[in-house]
């Protein structure tokens, strides 16, 4: 596993305490997991995606990520309806490891409350949060 300083945290997205990220694009929110989360999980071998049309609350479980050693749940950074899922992950789950902010995105959500994005952390606060986790 890498040092936090070696990981990549873009400025233009927001982060949740559960290590998901959200990015507003034309009224929808694209979500995925942070570089820290993928690094902790290790080689991801399977992503269980929700179905388009599923509606979840903020913080609710919306899928699972399975790595070689563990399975962890995916939580919604903001509440809303799933409008598309990254079906490329069915055959190439490793994209979550190699490009967590790019082609490794997980779902697009139509947010039910746009202000929930503001409750997420920016890059600096998220990095401070991570430093609190690391020994």
């Amino acid at each position: 596993m890498k040092e936090i300083t070696e990981l990549n945290f873009p400025e233009d997205i927001r982060y949740s305490k559960d290590h998901e990220w959200g990015k507003s694009i034309d009224g929808k929110v694209r979500m995925g997991i942070s570089d820290y989360a993928q690094d902790q999980l290790g080689e991801i071998v399977f992503v269980e995606l929700p179905e388009v049309g599923d509606i979840f609350q903020k913080g609710e479980e919306c899928g699972t990520l399975e790595s070689v050693k563990a399975v962890s749940e995916l939580y919604m950074p903001v509440g809303g309806a799933v409008i598309s899922v990254n079906s490329q992950l069915e055959d190439s789950p490793d994209l979550v490891n190699s490009e967590p902010y790019g082609s490794g995105w997980i779902i697009d959500v139509a947010p039910s409350d746009a202000s929930e994005m503001d409750e997420l952390m920016d890059r600096d606060r998220y990095m401070e949060e991570l430093k609190g986790i690391e020994p």
Partner: protein, 444 residues
């Protein structure tokens, strides 16, 4: 391994957590008349001579094959067990093995499980089989549980009224305390499941049909699968007599998403009803939702072939409360028995054996028909069928037990509308003479 029982402090602490005052409170869900109120009153210890005499006397109360001619199936079948199977099972490498906790060190055990899984998928026509479950009934309940996990928003499943009644009770027990509901499908006049109600059931996650069913009749699994899939529900093919698939079209090619049931027929003695073997196979699409352990074949860093437990992230020791099932054990020895039995019998042997069961059963059916008795249902059968006897047969049935013949299972306690109907089973263990003698006794 040393055994440490719970201390009274342990018990008190655990009771406090679950909110029960006493141990009796904890057991309150067990029906009152099934619970012993006073302590065990055990007799004085016996000498070896006395004990042997005592056990012999006890065994006289029981009808055991081959001393008795037993025409009972209904979920537990008398089949010939090849000597090679019994011999191999007695080898200590096999008989002492348990589900391995440090699995990869036990390559032999894992390979045996892998072979078992392969044989099960071939027999049932599906992609992946697990390393086995406790028995047919719990396998079916787990199949329903798995269906609810896959069809997440649906709350109902349908079960054929011709699934073994004891399996249906186990399923009820699983789901009674939950929000999920189990809907029973009625049966048609010809002795198969009435599928017409499936279309009407809302929120349907799965449909389960047993074939051959409890009346011995062969079900049209393909139509049942189509009806289930039309409702976006999974189709579960259940069985108590897997030998039938030596002859019949397998569940996979008829559209089953899950096939599960009892594997006792494959070399496992009847032993008063247990232990059994829960066989469980699924389509690859659903493998991550499948309960139970799974052995895979792989290569190590040096390119050597080896066997590993795979997809263990579904299981309880890793996923905790989010596991696909509470079961993370298997029936290692019974699964191994089935693998040995299937390997010893072979593909051609299984077909021949299944044919023999079917032919002998047809012979008895015909002879009883000639004697003026009525086979209750028209649908084709495998090695069991139902006969509608005249009312006077109850006394005859008793009388025959005195003559060491058990002439079928009275169905009235399971199906009150079927008074004087008996379920008869014929396997390869009965000779033509046996069958002729049975007909002569019944018609005398």
């Amino acid at each position: 391994m040393r055994y440490f029982p719970h201390t009274s402090e342990d018990i008190a602490a655990m009771l406090k957590v679950v909110g029960a005052d006493t141990l009796n409170d904890l057991f309150s869900t067990i029906p009152e008349d099934c619970r012993r109120k006073e302590g065990l009153s055990l007799p004085e210890a016996m000498t070896e001579w006395d004990l042997n005499r005592h056990m012999r006397e006890l065994s006289r109360d029981m009808a055991v094959c081959p001393d008795y001619k037993i025409y009972l199936g209904a979920g537990s079948y008398e089949h010939y067990i090849p000597a090679s199977v019994s011999y191999l099972l007695e080898r200590s490498e096999f008989s002492t093995a348990y589900t391995p906790y440090q699995p990869e060190i036990s390559q032999g055990t894992l390979q045996a499980m892998y072979e078992y899984q392969t044989l099960v998928t071939r027999l049932l026509g599906l992609d992946v089989a697990n390393a086995s479950m406790y028995d047919g009934a719990s396998a079916l309940a787990e199949a329903f549980k798995m269906s609810f996990n896959i069809k997440r928003k649906k709350k109902r499943v349908a079960i054929s009224g011709l699934v073994n009644p004891l399996y249906r009770r186990v399923v009820e027990t699983y789901f009674a305390p939950t929000e999920y509901r189990v809907v029973a499908l009625p049966y048609c006049k010809n002795g198969t499941t009435d599928l017409s109600a499936i279309g009407e059931i809302e929120e349907l996650a799965a449909v389960a049909v047993q074939s051959p069913n409890f009346f011995g009749c062969i079900e049209d699994l393909q139509s049942a699968a189509e009806a289930a899939h039309k409702k976006d529900a999974l189709f579960i093919a259940c069985f108590t007599e897997p030998l039938a698939y030596g002859l019949l079209k397998d569940p996979g090619c008829q559209g089953a998403d899950i096939a599960c049931g009892e594997g006792q027929s494959f070399g496992i003695p009847q032993s008063f009803g247990g232990p059994g073997l829960g066989m469980f196979a699924v389509k690859t699409d659903y493998v991550r939702k499948m309960p139970g352990r799974l052995v895979g074949r792989t290569r190590d860093v040096d390119g050597k072939e080896g066997f590993v437990l795979t997809l263990a992230t579904r299981e309880q020791h890793i996923r905790r409360e989010k596991a696909t099932s509470n079961i993370c054990s298997n029936q290692g020895l019974c699964a191994l028995t089935a693998a040995m039995y299937l390997a010893a019998t072979g593909g051609v042997g299984i077909r021949d054996l299944a044919g023999l069961n079917r032919d002998k059963t047809e012979y008895l059916k015909e002879r009883l028909g000639e004697a003026g008795l009525k086979v209750a249902f028209e649908a084709p059968t495998f090695n069991e069928f139902v006969v509608a006897f005249p009312e006077s047969f109850a006394a005859k049935h008793e009388e025959l037990i005195e003559k060491k013949i058990v002439a079928g299972l009275p169905l009235v306690s399971y199906y009150p509308e079927l008074a004087h109907h008996y379920l008869l089973c014929v396997t390869e263990t009965k000779t033509r003479d046996d069958l002729d003698a049975l007909v002569a006794e019944i018609t005398s």
